[in-house]
């Protein structure tokens, strides 16, 4: 009996380790952002609608917002666009866009054609703001609370499912609690 104990123990240990690995496999490939739980990066960038006007992170404090990084060169962003329009129609959290390394004229045309879900769009021509937010591929979406803390990050196209399961509960739980 004793001689089976060690292999059995090793087997159980391996089974537990692999089970944990399988359970967490959907999160694989998504890199945890060190930004979650920390203050959103400060920025002051020209607005897409009027480059003479600045979009400032300081002006966004005091209410929830979704910070959505996109670009007209990004195919996934086109797939995501209908969901963004739905989010805007729901009227619960305003969308702030970050147009990442894009052509302003093309970006304006994109919004004119597909509809504009954003309250404001900031232009990040140099890509520096995106780096401050730890963005590595568009689209990426951050949920920021009224205190200016990033509470959630979604990498890839926003779906109805992520909106309903990840974003809405976070916003409404706090709204109901206060």
């Amino acid at each position: 009996m004793n001689r089976f104990l060690l292999p059995l123990g090793a087997f159980l240990l391996l089974a537990v380790v692999l089970a944990i690995g399988i359970k967490h496999s959907p999160e694989k490939g998504v890199i945890a952002s060190p930004l979650v739980g920390r203050p959103a990066p400060q920025f002051s960038l020209p607005a897409l609608s009027d480059p003479a006007r600045q979009v400032r992170s300081a002006d966004l404090k005091g209410h929830w917002y979704l910070f959505n990084v996109w670009g007209t060169w990004c195919a996934e962003c086109r797939a995501e666009h209908p969901v963004l329009l739905k989010v805007q129609r729901a009227g619960i959290v305003p969308l702030i866009g970050l147009d990442w390394k894009d052509d302003n004229a093309q970006a304006r045309e994109w919004l004119a054609q597909l509809g504009n879900p954003y309250e404001t769009v900031a232009v990040d021509a140099s890509g520096r703001a995106a780096i401050e937010w730890g963005v590595y591929g568009a689209p990426e979406t951050f949920l920021v609370n009224p205190q200016g803390i990033v509470v959630y990050k979604h990498v890839g196209a926003l779906t109805d499912d992520t909106w309903a399961r990840e974003i809405l509960p976070r916003v409404s739980a706090v709204a109901a609690g206060s």
Binding site: I31, P34, K101, I131, Y136, G137
Partner: protein, 148 residues
Amino acid sequence: MRARLRPLALLVLAALLRSGGALAVDPTELPDPRLQARYVALTHELRCMQCQNESLADSPVELAADLRREVRELLLAGKSDDEVRAWMAARYGDFILFRPRYAWRNAWLWGAPGVLLLIGAVVSWRIVRQRTTLLGSDDQPVEEDPPG
């Protein structure tokens, strides 16, 4: 036949040489050679987040170029190598570091080879001991194959 193959060989050689040139994606030359050496070392140990198994130095994507620009500017601003690594990790997480940091949360990573070696040592010691005791209690002569 050999003469006809030669142009093909030249073509292959030319293609190889060209791709060799294309591999050098980063034309950066910093004024100070010591700074340049640190820059090269750092961009080789930072991950390109977009094409995750390439370093910043090897990646042709735009984000890698942007991140190399940040490394350049941080070095020119007089930051140390560790400060550059910390700057990157603060934005992209430890994942951007090809060489994991020594930290408690990485303890299993650095400790696992030692633990595995220890387990291996215990197991082999037990096997050896078991076999030795088996040999000691065995008073029968070892059976040999009949000569044939």
